[in-house]
Amino acid sequence: MQQVNKWPSGLVNKPLRYCPGCGHGIVHRIVGECLEELGIRERTVGIAPVGCSVFADEYFNCDMIQGPHGRGPAIATGIKRSKPECIVFSYQGDGDLASIGMAETVHSAARSENITVIFINNAIYGMTGGQMAPTTLIGQQASTCPRGRTVQANGYPIRVCELLAQLEGARYLERTSTHTAAHVIKAKKAIRQAFQNQIDGKGFSLVEVLSICPTNWGLTPLQSLKFVTEKMMPMYPLGVFRTPDAAAGAATEGGAA
């Protein structure tokens, strides 16, 4: 019998300390496999965010920098411009990328910096204890909106891919999910493409990954999978929003665009 899968060389061989069911582990594996398969691990620099994945530097088997809150794309810009031969990726959550780091995200996309951004959207602040994030859904409970998010008090959630799709500099934007094995495979394809774009010098690539946070949603991992399909995907339809070749638009999956 042959072993079908193995621990990717892009990840350090140690147990992940995320909560049971957390999507970070899945995306870590995908990134680790992409670094191995594309043969770029030796020249890759990753940027760990502030959030649950602040310890990403312990897991990715490449050079890592842990940046100030939300500043991943700014740090990536500096590294990429001073060392263009490096492959630079920024790994960020929704609180990091869509809240405090929104300016860095938008402007690095507008400048079309040749970097890869992996954006984990779990609609809540994970590390700090389940506070409302910019991506928290209307009606979703969080510790800072215990009766559910309301438009009147908290405004509308931000769809990052749709927002960045307005910018000509954003060359590759795709939203994927990790709630089924098939979607995990699609997410890997998207993340691999985002790294390939950087190798080819195509410009700013961002892959948004819908991820579950059972601990802070107050659900079991299995209930969380249902939450993604029933609540998150209608708000955050999956699909490709921009590719380097064609501008906007492409089929979306899961609800109204």
């Binding site: 019998m1 042959q2 072993q3 079908v4 899968n5 193995k6 621990w7 990840l11 147990p15 992940l16 995320y18 909560c19 049971p20 069911g21 957390c22 999507g23 970070h24 582990g25 899945i26 594996r29 990790t178 089924t180 094995a181 098939a182 995990v184 495979i185 059972p214 079991t220 991992p221 299995l222 999978l225």
Partner: protein, 67 residues
């Protein structure tokens, strides 16, 4: 026969693999692991096809597939 091996030190008992298995071969153990979770295990004999979907969705890289 194809089979999976679950590393009980890595598995946190999230049960995501049970949803991914197209043949429902995976169930949760009723014995605590050393880390304090009920780990996944291959519950049926001659059931696994080695498709590897459980390993795709496992967030803890606990599943190794043999085919």
């Amino acid at each position: 026969m194809p089979e999976i091996k679950v590393d009980e030190k890595l598995c946190k008992g999230c049960e995501l693999c049970t949803t991914a298995c197209p043949k429902q071969c995976i169930a949760m153990s009723d014995q605590f692991s050393v880390t304090g979770y009920y780990p996944a295990k291959l519950a049926k004999q001659d059931c696994c096809t080695g498709c590897g979907l459980c390993a795709q969705i496992c967030p803890d890289l606990a599943i190794t597939v043999f085919k």
